[in-house]
């Protein structure tokens, strides 16, 4: 055991030396491990930056020179720490790396890597335990938890890049977590390969312009009121945004793409109240929006407007408990199942229009004779196959097959088996609601598809032409021709 420990020490010392050598080559600054560690953290000796912090007076600004620092920091007075050039804090795969215990700390421009992987201790790159911290433009790599705010209200988390460890999702930590940290600003951060980004018991938080890729919950709120979630991009997560037991949340202008975990909601709302979901783009999710018991009270209708739900397996999923939503001015484009009710029940308690304005449905089959932009017939969703799917999910295996069409045809043609309309849009829109150009993905151009099409066509034409040209020469079997013809 002891020898193993020693070996580890030697190995890490060798690594440290080589890293230090590398940093010396890049920047003529030398950093040594302190010979006699002063006590700061029982687990970790105090390092060079730690000594600077100890020496500094509150309110001072410390500029840290470029290099690799293998140390764990505790910032226990209101300091501003600024990295000058590439300053790497390496946690040596153990414990937390930066702990902020004093209010009004600013921590800017560092690269932090290699936390421990102890989920019980929630090893974090940056843990904030005091109000008004500013965590800006840091790069977090190979970390278990990223930025963990506990009772740190009025903080600012801006422009950080957070990359999780390459672990199985169950063994990862949260890229970002806010616990009882009211009025915090979370802006332009990017998180990838984390577990969740969580806001718990934090009121008045603004989450703007962040991205979360390949995580579990892109953004998860619990008991967090009056939160503004604006212009974020959440893609390829298990779930995009999930709200629970929160009131007064606004979700505006977010892009939720291909969130396809086992539940796979773009936006999920559970027992949420006074919410507004506007101008979001939801594409390719398992279910664009999922509503469970929302709005929770009848205080205010749930507002869904200006959203585009396209190519999702299900556009809108309602649990029967969802009542009192107003869904108007949205685009429902080519979702396999545009609106689904899980279990029994109807959507009668929800309105698919507001005033004289319904939604755009890509499967609307009516027309608009008086040119007012509103379809002349109501849009009723009553396809037999969709109904079957809501009750028998296993039958999804037969999606896209002609048998599906046959069933839908029977449903239309034979009144006896025609299902009750799932919902009715009295004033369907004839044209889709405009999508802000900057909301669209950069979808590349059509040249490759065009090229593939041309090549395929040419191949077909080639076969036809080749046979036409040779047609005169092949009337005789070669063996016969060799033997002098049929004569």
């Amino acid at each position: 055991m002891l020898t193993r420990c020693l070996q580890l020490r030697i190995a890490s010392a060798a690594l440290a030396a080589s890293l230090a050598a590398a940093s010396v080559m890049a920047q003529p600054v030398e950093h040594e491990q302190p010979a006699e560690p002063q006590r700061s953290d029982a687990a970790h000796p105090i390092g060079e930056i730690g000594r600077l912090i100890t020496a500094a007076a509150g309110g001072a600004t410390l500029t840290i020179k470029a290099g690799v620092y293998r140390e764990h920091l505790r910032i226990d007075k209101p300091l501003t720490l600024v990295a000058e050039g590439l300053v790497v804090l390496d946690g040596d795969s153990s414990g937390d790396i930066v702990e902020i215990t004093a209010p009004d700390v600013t921590f800017r421009g560092f690269t932090i890597r290699n936390t421990g992987i102890d989920l019980d201790k929630e090893n974090a790159a940056i843990r904030v335990l005091a109000p008004r911290a500013t965590i800006e433009h840091n790069t977090l790599e190979d970390i278990l938890f990223g930025i963990d705010l506990r009772e740190a209200p009025d903080s600012r988390i801006i422009g950080n890049r957070i990359g999780g460890k390459n672990l199985d999702i169950a063994r990862r930590g949260d890229g970002l977590r806010l616990w009882r940290s009211d009025r915090t600003l979370v802006e332009r951060n990017s998180i990838h390969d984390g577990r969740d980004a969580i806001l718990w018991y934090s009121t008045g938080v603004v989450v703007r312009g962040n991205t979360a890729l390949d995580c579990r919950y892109g953004l998860h709120l619990m008991f967090s009121d009056d939160v503004h979630i604006v212009d974020n991009e959440l893609a390829r997560n298990s779930v995009g945004i999930y709200l629970m037991y929160s009131t007064g949340v606004e979700i505006v202008g977010n892009r939720l793409l291909r969130n396809r975990g086992p539940s796979g909601y773009g936006i999920g709302l559970k027992e949420t109240d006074r919410f507004s979901v506007r101008d979001n783009l939801l594409i390719g999710n398992r279910s664009g929006v999922y509503l469970d018991g929302s709005p929770f009270t009848a205080a205010q209708p749930g507002e869904f407007t200006g959203n585009t739900l396209a190519f999702n397996d299900v556009g809108f999923t309602f649990l029967p408990s969802a009542k009192g939503n107003e869904i108007s001015g949205n685009n429902f484009i080519d979702n396999i199942d545009q609106v689904s009710v899980s279990g029994r029940g109807t959507l009668a308690a929800n309105a698919f229009w507001k005033g004289e304005r319904g939604n755009f449905w890509s499967d609307y089959s009516g027309y608009d004779q008086n040119n007012d932009g509103i379809g002349d017939f109501v849009h009723e969703s009553q396809t037999l196959f969709e109904n079957l799917l809501d009750k028998q999910p296993a039958l999804r295996l037969f999606l896209f097959s002609p048998a599906q069409q046959a069933i839908e045809f029977v449903g239309r043609a034979v009144p006896a088996v025609r299902p009750e309309a799932k919902f009715t849009d009295e004033v369907p829109l004839m044209r889709p609601v405009a999508v802000r150009p900057e909301m669209r993905s950069s979808q590349g151009d059509g040249v490759p598809l065009f090229g593939a099409g041309v090549l395929l066509t040419l191949a077909g034409v080639g076969v036809v032409i080749s046979i036409r040209e040779r047609s005169s020469t092949i009337s005789v079997i070669p063996a016969v021709r060799a033997a002098g013809g049929l004569a």
């Binding site: 590349g444 395929l456 046979i467 063996a479």
Partner: protein, 293 residues
Amino acid sequence: MSAFAVLSRPLAASNAPSLLSNVGVIARRELRDAIRSRWFLLYTLAFVVLGLAVSFVSAAGTGGTGLSGFGRTTAGLINLVLLVVPLMALTAGAASIASDRERGMLAYLLAQPVTRAEVVLGKYLGLALSLFASLSLGLGTCAVILAWKGVRTSPSSIVWLAGLSMLLALGMLSLGFLISVLARKASVAVGTAIFVWLSLVFVSDLALMAGAVALRLRIERLFALSCANPLQVFKMWSLHAVDASLDVLGPAGLYATEEYGRWLHAIFAGCMIVWIVVPLAAAALVLSRRSPL
């Protein structure tokens, strides 16, 4: 010993040219006849027109929002292929040998120094090439129109779709040949082919659906059973290839992805190869044993 020995025994003198050149000549003949025939023209035209319709409708469905993805665009094309391609291939295959026999052409062909296997293989290749021409014309035009209408699907999806449609066509053509060899008259062969088409396209799926609901089939059974239908295999394979995931197909699709993962391509390919090779071999066998007249 048998049948394969009989099949491969050359009927011609010992200085007969290789098997391949005989097959090639018959194939070219068949292809030329097919391309000159009205049926081929009609099917190709229908396929192109329907494909264009699907493309236009699906491009219009997005309402000019400039969005695209896996939606009804690809689904519509898959659906179209499922309807039209088996019909084309089955009837073309069914008509081939039966009508030759009716016109006395088969006897004439077999009087030449070629084996019966060569005749079957040659005719099969010729018709397969004509189907290839038809399919690539149809899907190629669709791709061009879709690209022009602003749909941004990756080109690999259309190439996959074309390739898999071709495999489906080959399988259905094989089945058509078997029908053709078994039937006495061309009309009977074509009628049987249409019946088989109807069964594969509608009846088997509907029966399986009913069975799944009534017997509460477990999803692994459901998946295994649908692998028996080449049309379902084509559909699942296309979805798997284009979308890289079968989870759109609900619990059964999820089960397939989780259980077989990267083996799915191999499984689907295996099913297709069985559907291509077995009926064709059976057709050759039957022809070699029966009187050609």
